[in-house]
Symmetry: C2
Subunit: 340 residues, 2 copies
């Protein structure tokens, strides 16, 4: 069983995932793994994954057989497990907690080569709807304080399988980075009585220089204090604290905005590897929500970070990032791309 451990100085939690089974000797040879002959995420190999939690498939097909458009399965090597209770324990001066949570894999498409930036918009919309369904389902479990959806595209971005997939990890505590963002938006709201993200959208439309793409409901932009070259945020124009509050029409427009943004990035930089993270409100069904007004001050969004530079000692030591490309230059470059 994995465990959660707390750093006694800054309060950062770490998942020590013993079940993922990296023994010390596994690191000695650092050769890259080749692709296995059979991809466990491809159509026809459904028996190579744990049984599916959710799928979108033709009505005449059975679960865990071919005929699906999208599948969600438990991670075979989960960082956190759904079974058990949240047990807390002190170990001398240290604090730990049992590794309860969920770890799921969203298999985005049956086809191994159906890379996101070339995928049909309808395929992307199916993915975005699946994210909504999984959040709605996982939120019912009140042990799960936060549901993080993310995508690692490419080996440098941390992916161990090349078949298009995203991941969902639900944690028994609200992570530090999420707390900072929610607290930051609350502080701004307390001072100005406005949402900081709504203000950012307004300001960026006024400046124009950091915009990447825009449609009726969504906007993508390179943020003012981008940590990385070509960092992109994608925000709904309507104020919404949670991803599941999106309407069907908005989901369609998010599909368009995400598709157009990812195409531009892929064309401009030659299909860079990247991470994306969905930043949405913590589970609001949890009793004693520490942010009773979160619907007023928080605003969900995606953050996309291409893997173009290395994070080095300075960043690790300070939390300060050095970005060699001003976001205005990155955004201008992305706007100029001819999208086929």
């Amino acid at each position: 069983m994995s465990e959660l451990r707390k750093d006694p100085i800054i309060g950062r939690w770490v998942i020590v995932a013993t079940e993922r089974g990296k023994r010390p000797t596994d690191f000695i040879s650092t050769k890259l793994k080749g692709e296995t002959v059979s991809c466990p995420l491809c159509e026809g190999n459904e028996n190579m994954t744990p049984p599916e939690i959710y799928s979108s498939r033709s009505q005449d097909t059975l679960a865990n057989s071919p005929g699906w458009k999208i599948r969600v399965v438990p991670n075979k090597f989960p960082a956190l497990r759904i079974e058990g209770t949240v047990d807390r324990e002190g170990l001398g001066m240290f604090d730990k907690m049992s590794g309860i949570g969920a770890h799921e894999v969203v298999i985005e498409t049956p086809s191994h080569d159906d890379i996101l930036h070339n995928r049909s918009v309808s395929g992307i919309i199916t993915l975005l709807e699946t994210y909504q369904k999984r959040i709605n389902d996982l939120q019912k479990d009140q042990r799960l304080k936060y549901i993080m959806i993310f995508k690692n595209e490419g080996e440098r971005a941390g992916a161990s399988l090349s078949h298009p997939h995203s991941q969902i990890i639900a944690t028994p505590i609200v992570p530090k980075r999420v707390r900072e963002e929610v607290d930051g938006s609350l502080e701004y709201y307390g001072y100005k009585m406005r949402c900081v993200f709504c203000d950012i959208i307004r300001e960026e439309k006024r400046f124009g220089s950091r915009l990447v793409y825009e449609n009726a409901s969504f906007i993508s932009l390179c943020p003012f204090a981008s940590r990385f070259p070509f960092e992109i945020w994608l925000l709904p124009k309507r104020h919404m604290s949670g991803y599941t509050q999106m309407t069907q029409q908005e989901t369609i427009e998010l599909g368009d905005c995400l598709s157009m943004t990812m195409k531009r990035l892929a064309i401009a930089l030659g299909e860079p590897q990247y991470n994306w993270m969905l930043h949405t409100e913590p589970n609001t069904l949890v009793p004693r929500n520490p942010w009773p007004d979160i619907q007023e001050h928080y605003h969900w969004h995606f953050e996309i970070i291409p893997k173009l530079t290395r994070v080095a000692g300075f960043e690790w030591g300070t939390g300060f990032y050095i970005n060699p490309t001003p976001p205005e230059e990155a955004a201008a470059f992305l706007r100029e791309v001819d999208v086929y």
Copy 2:
């Protein structure tokens, strides 16, 4: 001129380093740079670097000529520059500041292949003394609120030159990560009237399972809530808030502890790439120090993080780390190494 920009939500500062000159097109080809024919950091190539700020050299040699043991030079492509004033400016809702600071390169040895874990202990001690001298010198500049010393070893760790070197970046604000650590130690001190790092040392000696190496004055260990496999901290046993408070005898013992720890890491894992960061107190010569009792509650140390895993979307989105190797296993593996 570089500029510092502040994220309006969580208050994180970023250095947008326009002078480092990464144009968007520089990222299109991601081929690795080969080593240049002539290494600018090697002995004999002193004219390839900016003029030296400090060197330890034979008395009969001139500055910027051969005959040195260690050289400190300004970074040719600095993230921050020493010239100018700290100008602050609002840009609509956003905040920025001029990129004032220092960025130096410590050329650790004249010989290109004199890698740290094979270097003589006396060579390592010279390096550690040089760090002290540079901090003492840079602290006199009251614009510099923090002096961060770090080492990127290997391309995956962010190094762009393979000649053994470390870097110094002095910033006009105390970075977020440093503030969190100092504030965390203050909170613990306020509650227990003890230093949290001194307590960690005491606890780790009692447990024993996470210790790596120990001599009279220093200890190295894999921390309880290690973010990464084989993460190692190296702490002075005597309570000291600042690196420059170390005595000469302690510097010698730090050289031994660092050498023995890095040898173990290199032998155990086959010379992994790594970052190390010196965590010391903010510049105490700055007026209106926000931590008047810092000498009581803060405790300087090194953090060493081998590059064995990739930081992926989950970590970026949450600030939560998944570590697949328990620190007890990593420490046991390092203790068992036969050091030649």
